[in-house]
């Protein structure tokens, strides 16, 4: 493909866009792993949400 005399500008524009999109995806994915790890760590230490604790027998699950 011939991008003409301004090929450099086109290539840099796409490179910057791909880099920014890549950083966004990496940030969101990395943050997800970090939060999941933090919740799992708390769970291991026995620190859980009340709704996640096992219910005594006879108590119904909320709707």
């Amino acid at each position: 493909m011939d991008l003409g005399p301004h090929a450099g500008f086109i290539i840099v524009a796409y490179a910057v866009t791909f880099a920014v999109v890549g950083l966004l995806v990496a940030w969101v994915a990395g943050d997800y792993l970090a939060q999941r790890r933090a919740l799992a760590d708390l769970d291991r230490r026995g620190i859980t949400r009340r709704s996640a604790e096992p219910r005594p027998s006879g108590v119904k699950e909320p709707a």
Partner: protein, 241 residues
């Protein structure tokens, strides 16, 4: 599922888990089709091959304003309806909007140098978009300054609604003032002024970037809900100790 059910973070998380794989697949597919279209599209008779920059510049420019619009709706959700997920939505949209605005500014400059002979001019469209970018950064800084998410959400909501004044200024700047930036050629009264051979890939790329935003936004909201759960658990634990 009624819309009000999504006010429950646990139900919202379950919905995100279900739709996210489909959204990721749709985004990848849309980018594959859009990039192929951009690659095969003919050169413009005036711009030559630099028209290919438009396939990334226009979608990002559109999203820069659209994301602030989403944040403004979320701000109303925080201040008026006190929806528990509204400030989560606003907080997670801000970095995405900043990134799209940054790409719009950089790709616009890279197009401007060969076409206008300059990377930058202080005309109304370029300046108002730069102001939008700075407002995004200000909003992100505000979220980081206030520790309590509820208080930060209310302050950010007010700033977001004040900043929404900039949206019509960006849109109509090319009509109200004499600018180097061309007037609207797609979203305008009357049909688009672009040939379909260039317009179709532009629409597909706009759809692809919009899907990317929805996907990343939902994923970032899921992360933020988990972060708040971690924070609440740690605070509760500290109170018990």
């Amino acid at each position: 599922m009624a819309l009000i059910d999504l006010a429950n973070p646990t139900r919202f998380l379950a919905l995100v888990e279900r739709v996210l794989p489909w959204l990721i697949a749709a985004t990848v597919l849309a980018f594959a089709i859009g990039l192929r279209g951009a690659y095969l599209a003919p050169d413009d008779y005036q711009q030559g091959a630099t028209v290919k920059i438009m396939y990334i510049h226009v979608p990002n420019a559109w999203l820069s304003s659209f994301v602030w619009g989403v944040m403004s709706l979320a701000a109303l959700g925080t201040l008026v309806w006190r929806h528990p997920l509204a400030d989560v939505a606003a907080k997670c949209a801000a970095p995405l909007g900043a990134a799209f605005t940054f790409v719009a500014l950089v790709t616009g400059s890279l197009w401007g140098r060969p076409m206008w002979g300059t990377y930058w001019v202080w005309d109304a469209r370029l300046t108002s978009v730069l102001v939008l970018f700075l407002m995004y950064l200000g909003l992100i800084a505000l979220w980081r300054t206030i520790d309590d998410p509820a208080r930060a959400g209310r302050a950010a909501a007010i700033l977001t609604l004040v900043g929404a004044v900039n949206l019509p200024i960006i849109k109509f700047s090319v009509d109200w003032w004499n600018t180097l930036h061309q007037p609207a050629s797609v979203f305008r009264m009357g049909p688009p002024t672009i040939d379909p051979s260039l317009l179709v890939p532009l629409f597909v790329m706009t759809a692809a970037f919009s899907l990317l935003f929805v996907t990343l936004h939902l994923a970032a909201m899921r992360n933020e809900i988990m972060r708040r759960r971690v924070r609440t658990l740690l605070l509760t634990q500290a109170e018990r100790a």
